[in-house]
Amino acid sequence: MNAPRATTPFQSLIEAHAVAVAAFLRGMLPADDVDDVLQETLVAALRAYPGFDGASPRAWLLTIARRKAIDEHRARSRRPEALAEPDAIAASPAAEGPDAALWERVAALPPKQRAAVVLRFALDLRYREVGEALGCSEAAARRNVHEAVRALRATDPTTDIEEESA
């Protein structure tokens, strides 16, 4: 039997998943970098596509996007001007209000927790797929989200902490 390989035109992956990948990158990078890294992600995916086994294309694309976001973050922190913007990775929505304040705290989470939160809450991914995209187990993905939520509640300036089922 032949090894499984992609036989779906790559364009259908773009049509089905580019919106999700874009949302993930908006959660991981400054707004100005999102378009470029999204394109880089899709070109890298196109390069690897003939060897892709066809399973979980969304998680596969998100894995590539996460690596590209990390590359971008590293490249940025090597540039001297990045010293002046220590919070370079924090995207900031234009709006103000409680959502923006909460998002600022999400943006300040460690990158892996933040990625887990974005995948879980922006894209509604199951923990199994969050794990696939982050390159960790389902259990570790769950733990990342729970720890992030706990940290957010601990830093919530408005109220006391209360556990809630996720």
Binding site: T7, P9, V19, A22, E40, V43, D99, A100, W103
Partner: protein, 203 residues
């Protein structure tokens, strides 16, 4: 109190924005072409016969599909036969669109497009290459095309070869008729064959 609902709302507000897929496809296909990764670029081209699916490789036009076959089925077949690296990239098909527009407007009799013959081989290819040389407004019989391709008695095989033409219109298999003048067959449907021959003043 930060609830899951608050969190979901805040994360969505920060990560949701409009995404122009056509613009993204153009940018990706440009970068992919620069990197030698755009194995197949496609676009739908409007025509009097309905939308045509035009697909090119770096070597040239490789497939022109009629609307009587579903677009996705055509693309999937190309993914299997050539490469799954297929991106919608209308800008890569501008030349094809221009020449087809001119042909349908009656302003072009010969196509100057680069063609990629990789979907054809052997006798099929020989028949199609001979067919490509039939001038605008003229016709040949299946037997004549078979003979020109080196097998005078293989007119049935010539008919099958023309039916397998991956680049109709540009490779004008509509100019091949039965010896009595009957239309014969056509992959895009006989109405389409009739329309093309009418455009060329044959009918």
């Amino acid at each position: 109190m930060t609830t899951d609902i608050d969190l979901k709302r805040a994360v969505r507000a920060a990560t949701t924005a409009d995404l122009d897929l056509a613009e993204l496809g153009d940018a990706v296909s440009r970068r992919a072409a620069d990197a030698g990764l755009l194995d197949l670029a496609y676009a739908e081209i409007d025509s009097p016969l309905g939308p045509l699916l035009a697909v090119s490789t770096p070597a040239g036009l490789v497939h022109l599909g009629y609307p009587n076959r579903p677009r996705d089925a055509q693309l999937e077949q190309l993914a299997e036969r050539i490469s799954p690296r297929i991106v919608e990239a209308p800008g890569r098909l501008d030349e094809v669109r221009r020449e087809l527009d001119e042909y349908f407007a009656g302003r072009r009799h010969d196509f100057g497009l680069a063609l990629d013959w990789q979907l054809t081989a052997g006798f099929v290819r020989a028949v199609l290459e001979r067919t490509a040389a039939i001038p605008f407004g003229e016709t040949r019989t299946y037997g004549e095309v078979a003979a020109a391709a080196g097998s005078p008695r293989a007119f049935r095989a010539a008919g099958r070869a023309l039916g397998a033409n991956p680049i109709p219109i540009v490779v004008p298999c509509h100019r091949v008729l039965r010896s009595g003048g009957a239309l014969g067959g056509y992959g895009g449907g006989l109405d389409v064959k009739r329309e093309l021959l009418t455009l060329e003043g044959v009918l």
